[in-house]
């Protein structure tokens, strides 16, 4: 009923517009005016509106800047971010000039040279000097932008130094997990086939391989038991497919074990397969201040993006490959709270910035930046704690918390 009503309202509205247009057309035809003849009054009105628009446009722009200046991101909290912010302001300064000049010329000309029967447009089909001028000037300005831009880009994306703190961020629908090296200072190898509830990152150890193989064996046994019952043909085929899949998985994991054993035999202590057992897997993301950190980023299911707006850094998390991002935090969470934001609840945030599914909008993790000594203490403490898969989840405003997780 209400849908019908809405339809009627729309139709009546359209009819009304059509009728108004019709009346207008009839009257103007009576006055002998043709639709393509733009009257001097209409021309003048539009010309003035052009000027009015220019003023309103700039006023709107300035209002936005004044009203929202303080609601933009706070001061950059990393050396990379400080560089980005400087470059951003540098670019804005250049662009603002271009923006004002071109817009003023556009709307000023549009409003000024309004049609008059008594005047003719100036015949000016081309001018090589002018065209050369506005090829060379933008080229020169862009050269400056490119040089400064690439300089910063190289600084920000160059490989982290070998003694940087190493942290891994692991993304899946719809949360983040962090991993730190254990007592040995190195992180172990991973394989996605080993992922289970106790091993969410698929860290490779002799134990995790054995556990996973045992799990698969149990599963195969269960499926074979199901086959003993009376089942429709398609169900039988499905179960047989699944058993085949589990068998192939198991043989790949056995292969992995062979590779691991070979690697350990060749490299001894240096083998990455020997360093996973003591890795710290945690839902707490903690970074030391004033230390360069090499963040390794991986994903389990789809592409995610690790975005830390306060630190001005971002890097995609891509299934099947490891990406890197370097950052040197410069402000601790505590000083942000007391000195910058004046808000005891403030947290640096890591959020997902690549569409990844229904709860993409709530895939976040707080980041805590602490002093170097606090960081050492935290790592030592974390080493003692076993991983809790159901670790604390960030709450935000709690608006939709948990609903779509």
């Amino acid at each position: 009923m209400s849908k019908l009503l809405i339809l009627i309202v729309v139709l009546v509205g359209a009819l009304a517009v059509a009728q108004v247009a019709r009346v207008y057309e009839l009257t103007s035809r009576l006055r002998g005016k043709r639709e393509e003849d733009i009257s001097p009054a209409d021309n003048r009105m539009n010309a003035r509106l052009m000027w009015a628009f220019l003023v309103a446009y700039f006023a709107f722009f300035i209002w936005l800047i004044v009203a929202y200046k303080d609601k933009m991101l706070p001061v950059a909290a990393s050396t990379q971010g400080v560089e980005t912010d400087w470059l951003m302001n540098f670019n804005w300064a250049i662009l603002a000039v271009m923006f004002v000049v071109t817009n003023v010329l556009l709307f000023f000309f549009a409003g000024k040279y309004v049609y008059s029967k008594d005047r003719r447009a100036f015949w000016f089909p081309h001018n090589n000097k002018l065209e050369l001028l506005w090829t060379i000037v933008p080229a020169a300005v862009l050269a400056v932008i490119i040089i400064y831009g690439l300089n910063s880009w190289n600084n920000i994306t160059s490989p982290a130094s070998p003694d940087a703190v190493v942290v891994e961020l692991y993304a899946k629908q719809f949360d983040w997990t962090a991993r730190y090296p254990g007592q040995d200072g190195r992180m172990g190898a991973t394989d996605y086939r080993l992922i289970n509830g106790d091993n969410p990152l698929g860290i490779v150890t002799a134990k995790s391989i054995a556990t996973r193989l045992a799990e698969i064996d149990t599963e195969i046994a269960e499926e074979e038991a199901r086959l003993q019952g009376v089942l429709p043909d398609d169900k039988v085929a499905e179960i047989e497919d699944h058993i085949g899949y589990l068998g192939r998985m198991a043989s790949r994991i056995v292969n992995l074990r062979v590779v691991m054993e070979q690697d350990i035999k060749e490299n001894g202590e240096a083998s990455t397969y020997l360093h996973g057992a003591d890795d710290v897997v945690t839902k707490d993301f903690v970074l030391p201040v004033h230390k360069e950190v090499d963040i390794l980023i991986r994903a389990r299911d789809v592409i995610h993006s690790a975005y830390m707006p306060h630190l001005r850094i971002q890097m995609n998390a891509v299934p099947g490959m490891t990406t890197h991002m370097k950052v040197t935090p410069t402000i601790t969470t505590d000083s942000m709270r007391t000195h910058v934001m004046h808000d005891e609840a403030f947290d640096f945030i890591l959020l997902c910035n690549k569409i990844c599914g229904a709860s993409h909008f709530n895939m976040q993790m707080p980041l805590t930046v602490v002093t170097a000594s606090e960081f050492t203490a935290w790592v030592a403490e974390a080493n003692k704690k076993p991983f809790e898969p159901a670790g604390t989840q960030p709450g935000g405003n709690g608006y939709f918390a948990g609903q779509y997780r």
Binding site: S2, K3, A14, V17, A18, A21, R22, E25, E35, E36, I38, N43, M45, N46, A47, F53, A56, F60, L64, T84, L87, T102, L105, F109, Y113, Y115, R120, W123, P125, H126, N127, L130, E131, W134, P138, A139, I145, I146, W153, Y192, R193, G202, M249, R300, D301, V302, P309, Q314, N316, P319, G320, M321, I349, C352, I355, A358, F361, G396, N397, F400
Partner: protein, 599 residues
């Protein structure tokens, strides 16, 4: 040989027109007449645009007032996807996906190129029709079928494709990751495959027609800039769309045939997939190899239309005709070398990123040349504000605003911070969305008399322009600020983060402008369809324009010109030429003794 071919073609056209009355089907449905095909593209695009506009209103409502129920939302989505009028998060992602797909491909590619290339190429070049009327007809019907399939995908069980219009795998490959990646995604890929076929058939036809069927005297350097723009658009499309087709086919294989082009080491829904060795980044390279040229496929025709309309209505030759052609050519060439700027933070080698920074920023040079040439064309002109002229000036304004923020995004070091935030949304909606749609509106208002032999209402055109223009900035300008506050795109709501509390009221402002802007399109649609049937009859050359299309009779006819084809004697921009009585000189007017061609 050339002259002979022209003559033969002319004769054929001249006697063809006297033959057989056409049936309704051959005249309006399976027509091979380029003018009717152009109109078919236009009307289909207008309908598709409305679907996409309604989607945008629905998700704007959710963004302004997250979690609140709206009868409007429920009316369109029903209880399944909007219980109580609150949109489901999966449907939200589906709507942004389909909104983008329809706008970019169905409206601004097929709608813009399909309409104006078909209308204008034969008319402005003095040809009887396109090189192949049959392929032209097929091009439309492939497009139509593709539109129907895309709309049908809205009604499947898991919802339409929801992985964003860029359909990055693995999200788009795994129904377990998002329900829209089931049947909805399959239909999306099938629809796009047909769309690509349509656009290739169209593009080949445009290129062949422009190169071969120009009338006597229509040298390449006497072609209107619309044709130059359409020419390069078609070339870009022919070279880049096949790459998207291959990307889509590989994705189809990954989805249905257990191949691993894009998939590797994936563990989803508690199970490890067997795919190894593929790379999701490969898809992005293939996608953006089309995706970035696509921006210019959308933009160049709009710039061509604007060049034509600004010159006509400023009663002044376009400034720097050859520089305009050169800049179109430079943009077309560079458009193939910049796709990586969409992928700065995918883990791509930073050095490769540097190369893309360089090539991307180079595009700013021909773009700047174009802007300054427009400004100089307006300078000391004699400007008539037709609705078409207003939209053309609007295009220059959006091109400036969006072009400048493009410099920020092309600067990879800055892109790290604003990538995938609302800043990007603001940028491409202004520079690509608004500019192209303004170009399309300008073209519709300008060539409406040519298409339908009637005039659109000017006053309603003014109303339409000013509301749309103000709303365009009202909607997209604040988004820069939302983005600079760090707000990511494709978020169902921003309520989960206290850090965005400062800018949430901007979302309300944006939505109000968006709804107003959407309503203003009712004025346009009403004006358009009313004028098609009841608008005042047009004269032959209402805008006193120089180009050939205005030398054809108002009533459409097969073959376009009743007698022999017109012969061209000059470039199309002899407006207000010194020594002439009128402020325009048609291209068919012979040169006077001693007159020089000043292009």
């Amino acid at each position: 040989m050339g002259a002979h071919a022209h003559a033969a073609h002319a004769d054929h056209g001249a006697d063809h027109q006297h033959h057989h009355e056409e049936s309704f089907i051959s005249k309006f449905v399976f027509t091979q007449d380029h003018k009717m095909i152009g109109k078919q593209f236009l009307v289909t695009a207008i309908l598709m645009a409305w679907v996409a506009v309604i989607m945008s209103v629905i998700f704007r409502l959710q963004l302004a007032w997250p979690g609140e129920g709206f009868a409007f939302t429920n009316f369109f989505l029903g209880d399944k996807w909007a219980p109580g009028g609150v949109i489901d998060p999966n449907m939200y992602l589906a709507l942004v996906t389909i909104h983008g797909t329809i706008m970019v491909f169905f409206v601004l590619t097929a709608g813009l190129s399909g309409t104006f290339a078909n209308m204008l190429i034969p008319l402005q070049l003095g040809a009887r029709d396109m090189a192949s009327g049959f392929i032209n007809m097929l091009s439309y019907w492939f497009f139509f079928t593709s539109s129907v399939i895309m709309l049908a995908s809205l009604f499947v069980e898991g919802g339409p494709a929801s992985a964003g219009w860029t359909i990055y795998p693995p999200l788009s490959a795994l129904p377990k990751a998002i329900p829209g990646s089931g049947a909805g995604m399959t239909l999306w890929l099938v629809s796009m495959a047909l769309f690509i076929a349509s656009s290739l058939m169209g593009g080949l036809n445009y290129v062949v027609t422009i190169l071969n069927l120009r009338t006597k005297g229509m040298k390449m350097t006497r072609m209107p800039l619309t044709i130059w723009a359409i020419f390069f658009t078609a070339v870009i499309g022919i070279l880049s769309f096949p790459v998207l087709l291959s990307a889509a086919l590989l994705l189809l294989l990954d989805r249905s045939m257990h191949t691993s082009f894009y998939l590797s080491d994936i563990h989803i829904a508690g199970e490890a997939l067997e795919n190894t060795g593929g790379s999701p980044i490969l898809f992005q390279h293939l996608f953006w190899f089309l995706g970035h040229p696509e921006v210019y496929i959308v933009l160049l025709p709009a710039l061509g239309i604007t060049s034509e309309i600004i010159s006509t209505n400023a009663r002044k030759p376009i400034f720097g005709y050859r520089a305009m052609i050169g800049s179109i050519m430079a943009i077309a060439f560079l458009s193939f070398l910049v796709w990586g700027h969409h992928m700065f933070i995918t883990g791509m080698n930073p050095f490769l990123g540097s190369v893309f920074v360089f090539t991307t920023l180079l595009i700013a040079i021909p773009s700047a040349v174009k802007v300054f040439n427009y400004l100089t064309t307006l300078w000391r002109g004699n400007i008539i504000f037709t609705p078409a002229m207003l939209f053309s000036i609007g295009l220059v304004a959006t091109f400036i605003a969006g072009g400048l923020t493009g410099i920020i995004l092309a600067d990879s070091a800055l892109d790290i911070m604003v990538h995938d935030t609302y800043f990007v949304i603001a940028h491409f909606h202004i520079v690509m969305g608004m500019s192209a749609i303004f170009g399309m509106f300008a073209g519709i208002y300008h060539w409406f008399p040519k298409m339908y032999g009637r005039m659109m209402n000017t006053k309603l055109g003014y109303l339409h322009f000013w509301i749309t223009f103000i709303c365009a900035f009202g909607v997209f300008f604040p988004m820069h600020f939302i983005g600079l506050a760090g707000a990511p795109r494709r978020y169902y709501s921003y309520t989960e983060f206290t850090m965005f509390n400062g800018v949430v009221d901007l979302n309300v402002l944006v939505t109000i402008f968006a709804i107003t802007g959407a309503l203003a399109q009712l004025i346009f649609t009403g004006n358009f369809f009313y004028s098609v049937f009841r608008g005042p009859k047009s004269v032959q050359n209402p805008w006193k324009s120089n180009t050939l299309e205005w030398t054809t009779p108002v009533e459409h006819m097969h073959g376009n010109w009743p007698g022999p084809l017109p012969v061209v004697h000059r470039w199309p921009y002899d407006y207000s030429k010194p020594g002439k009585a009128e402020d325009w000189v048609s291209q068919i007017t012979p040169m006077e003794p001693g007159e020089t061609e000043d292009n």
